[in-house]
Subunit: 189 residues, 2 copies
Amino acid sequence: MTEHKQDSRGRIVEAANRLFYIKGYNQASFADVADEVGISKGNLHYHFRSKDDLLDAVIVLRTKVIEQNLARWDEQYSNPKDKLKRFVQMLLMEEDGIARYGCPLGSLNMELGKSQRELRDRSREMFDLFQRWLEKAFKQMGYKNSLSLSNHLLSMAQGAALMTFVYADGQLLKDECDRIHEWIEGLDN
Amino acid sequence: MTEHKQDSRGRIVEAANRLFYIKGYNQASFADVADEVGISKGNLHYHFRSKDDLLDAVIVLRTKVIEQNLARWDEQYSNPKDKLKRFVQMLLMEEDGIARYGCPLGSLNMELGKSQRELRDRSREMFDLFQRWLEKAFKQMGYKNSLSLSNHLLSMAQGAALMTFVYADGQLLKDECDRIHEWIEGLDN
DNA sequence: GTCTATAAGAAGATAGAC
DNA sequence: GTCTATCTTCTTATAGAC
């Protein structure tokens, strides 16, 4: 629990987070992460018993970031429609990464969902954070089917991200985000 | 080019197609495919020099199936709106598979797109088939932005499939397909 | 905490017998 | 065409020195 250990651990998790996103969890090896951080594989194993352990730490980090963002948006926007729009804005800000590597949430869930069901559940919890936050906004607007609307918005966002990635074309994301934006504007509240 | 070889080859490609879908390309090993078919790894290598070769054959098979379906739909439906609806109906018919393993096209593209760019292009061509077919339908309806509309429909379909997979919930697919269906009904033509 | 060395296993691929 | 045996490389993980 010394300062150095904390520093190393943090740097490892950040590097793993980056590599798992860029290459995918299964395609990013322990050695890749160690190289990225500039330490040995043996040292990496001192900090994380297994690769799954490392993924767990990455998910904890991502979860923390998501929760911080949602909390900040709650502070900045009281109008539920503004909250929905802020969600869409996030996509546009991530245009480059999405076009290159896809949505961090969607791609991780897609990868882990296949034949790695234990890890899938941990990964899905990040989706739940957005799902519940958006659901709350729709409920605030007076919708009874707020969960379905939340899933619909998530669905449109994921579809936009996937198509943007497949064609590696940021314009696709802009077009879809425009449509989502119009859809939000047209909602009753 | 004997009868036996053709039989084996066909069975191998079908098994690989199934396993690549269920486990993902990188997670399905050569040995897995050989076991599934009931032959040895060595024999599998006689038919396919490399795993990438095998994937290529799988993509050729999938491409053929897609082209056959699109051609059949063209015969069965002359009204472009009916064509769009038939596309959505395909999703509903694949509900079980999508909830368990995701969309075959979307998941393969997502997986290969990350750090395997050569294979990505081959995989993307399957998307192109649907993209062009849908675009033609929108053009037939008199839309000038037919490509954008085609991408939008693909985007909604992919989003629906991904959310359905993440939550392993077929109801999600039904809800989203209802929305897509309404969207199609509301189009001018 | 960090390193080197090494084990143990899986994966893709080849060689050669039948 | 199909098999067994083998090779090589990669990957995860451990052991032990510093």
